[in-house]
Amino acid sequence: MTDTSTMLSTVQAIATALKDKPGALLPILHGVQDTLGYIPADSVPVIAKALNLSRAEVHGVISFYHYFRETPPGKQIIQLCRAESCQSMGSKHLEAHVKAKLGIDFHETTVDGAFSLEPVYCLGNCACSPALQIGTDIYGRVSPELFDELIANTEAAA
């Protein structure tokens, strides 16, 4: 099977399993993104058909939500908190450091495909600001030095 047809059958399986839930579209989109890392454009017609929606409707939903992505992410997604509590503890300084260190802006992926950087508006870790998340691992009171250490560890583990 080609990559595309494997992908499409994965999406089909997810859609079939979830389509009878009330309000199934978000659970399906989560299922696809959890499995593939993003929601490929080719998967939209499959999802639309399973739910009896138009492609435009499915696309409209994907684009409404910040979390859903239509392009493949890097190996790790770094989510950096931009919200007020983290700002009060120097997140802007951290943000500048992170962007310089990785050489990318928000919504971009490093050239080696190791990291994608995304903004997030609160991780609920506001008593330990500034906060960020790498993959599903959360960190608090992150200094630029700690960030460098975390990145070095992640790269070593990769």
Binding site: L25, L26, F64, Q87, S88, G124, C126
Partner: protein, 512 residues
């Protein structure tokens, strides 16, 4: 003898190394041939002490913190499993001032029990509220909640009993209970702590709500940013089903209540209840016009209770101890307790559950210990990104819905974010406009277009361009947002913006 130890599984504790500390303790115990029973509890909510390790002793639980992996060997050397003295020893947990001064009703079990252990939940007074509710008429359950004076903790402070009563009295084959677990406000984490630290209390509260209004299906709409809460909730829900607390016949009562977690996808506006319902229905999160009220025509067009996590998690104790018990805490029309979240630039950030009425100053200094940086506290934002900034001159305001409304501020979900004197209030006002622009659902023009216009205006103001024209323009734009927005995202963005401008005009380059 087996020693019982506690290391929190709360995600803030984990963000500071709790998982590594737990692993190191197990490893070290094994090396030394000491048998330990390590429980992953919720957090006590004293985050400057996390990871906070506790040990069971004959005197009570003794705390050590903040513990890092490098401290573990020396803790064992000090015989900490028997409460031995160590530089990190804090004494009896319950005697710590920060905890001792609190009135924990909703948070009664959090940090004490294993969050996903049903037996431990029941051993600590869990499911007593439900047991009572099962023997009560629906209207009496609603009355207990009305009598308690509980007002919605999600932000709008609407009386919970009145909302439930509307749903109870709206006939329908299918009704729903929705728990709003979108907790998008910066500076808030009490919902997260409940879901990670005592998920059964939320499940119990929702089950009681279902019985009260005649709803057989509940949904928890959880923000995707909370993976640990997701895991704790699904584990606890599975256990509640297995033990008959959820299902077609709750504890054999013949009454059904089913519960499912649904994940959001990073849209702040989906915390607004009608946007949330659109999202649950699988659509874009566009805010709906009201009326109809969700209580009459809500999810899939059916009568629906939408309540915040803390509102619902406060219901079990109300049904256990009675509406009067809860109402006896608090002041004025703000009854009961509020889990306050101290965040931002504070020495001792954490969770403080107290009856309404404490002043901001007491919270910031007596509990919070002043700023983390040691500099003067310049401003405090209460109530999330749509809440006003308060200057020092307003720090004596008691935490109470009406007192805050009187100074054009909001209590909201109870988040308190402190800023030291390096904060630039014009930059923060610009950020508020930017946040509104990023998160706007796009349904109304003032919010969709106005927020971007507001950002541009703030850029001009920060650059010092034509202030005599741009500052009045900013004010008039805020007026448009206040009066012309469908929901509070557009309608309340002026709170942080105008409060920053009014209280800190010098940061905007204008005379006071």
């Amino acid at each position: 003898m087996i020693k019982t130890l506690y290391v929190p599984c709360d995600s803030s504790a984990i963000s500071l190394g709790a998982d590594r500390v737990a692993a190191a303790i197990l490893h070290e115990a094994q090396q030394r041939g000491i048998r330990v029973n390590l429980i992953r509890n919720g957090s006590r909510g004293m985050f400057w002490l996390e990871p906070l390790v506790e040990v069971d002793t004959a005197q009570g639980r003794i705390a050590y913190g903040p513990v890092q992996t490098k401290d573990v060997a020396s803790l064992f050397d000090a015989d900490f499993t028997n409460g031995g003295d160590h530089a990190l020893s804090l004494g009896l947990t319950e005697e710590l001032e920060y905890l001792k001064r609190q009135q924990r009703l909703t948070f009664a079990r959090i940090g004490i029990t294993d969050p996903v252990c049903l037996d431990s939940y029941i051993a600590h007074n869990g499911y007593q509220g439900l047991n009572n509710a099962l023997n009560m008429a629906q209207a009496d359950i609603v009355k207990a909640v009305t009598d308690s004076g509980l007002r919605g903790r999600g932000g709008a402070a609407f009386p919970t009993g009145i909302k439930w009563n509307t749903v109870l009295n709206t006939p329908s084959e299918q009704k729903y209970i929705i728990c709003n677990a979108d907790e998008g406000d910066s500076g808030t984490f009490s919902d997260r702590m409940v879901m990670e630290g005592d998920p059964f209390v939320l499940i119990e509260g929702m089950t009681i709500a279902g019985l009260a209004v005649g709803a057989s299906q509940g949904y928890i709409y959880l923000r995707v940013e909370y993976p640990h809460a997701h895991k704790a909730l699904t584990t606890a829900i599975d256990k509640a089903y297995a033990a008959g607390y959820l299902g077609d016949s709750v504890l054999g009562s013949g009454k059904a209540f089913h519960l499912e977690v649904r994940l959001g996808a990073g849209a702040y506006v989906c915390g607004e209840e009608t946007s949330l319902m659109e999202s649950l229905e699988g659509k874009r999160g566009l805010v709906r016009f009201k009326p109809p009220l969700p209580a009459i025509k809500g999810l899939f067009g059916q009568p629906t209770v939408v309540n915040n996590v803390i509102s619902l998690a406060s219901v079990p104790i109300i049904l256990d101890k009675g509406g009067d018990y809860y109402r006896d805490f608090g002041m004025g029309r703000s009854r009961g307790t509020l889990p306050i979240q101290l965040a931002g630039n504070l020495k001792r950030g954490g969770l403080v559950e107290l009856a309404f009425g404490l002043t901001l100053r007491e919270l910031l200094y007596d509990f919070g210990g002043g700023s983390a940086t040691g500099r003067p506290i310049k401003a405090v934002q209460v109530g999330g990104p749509l809440g006003a900034y308060l200057p020092e001159s307003q720090f004596d305001t008691p935490l109470d819905y009406e007192s805050f409304a009187a100074i054009w501020a909001v209590v909201g979900h109870g988040g308190v974010v402190a800023f030291d004197d390096t904060a630039d209030m014009a930059e923060l006002a610009r950020y508020s406009m930017e946040f509104c622009a990023i998160e706007s659902c796009g349904k109304c023009t003032p919010c969709r277009i106005g927020s971007t216009r507001g950002m541009e205006l703030m850029d001009d103001i920060i650059a010092g361009n034509d202030l005599s024209k741009n500052v009045p323009l900013l004010r008039s734009l805020c007026d448009t947002l206040l009066n012309g927005s469908l929901c509070a995202l557009g309608g309340m963005t002026p709170y942080p913006v105008l409060s920053a401008l009014n209280h800190f005009p010098q940061d905007f380059g204008v005379e006071a």
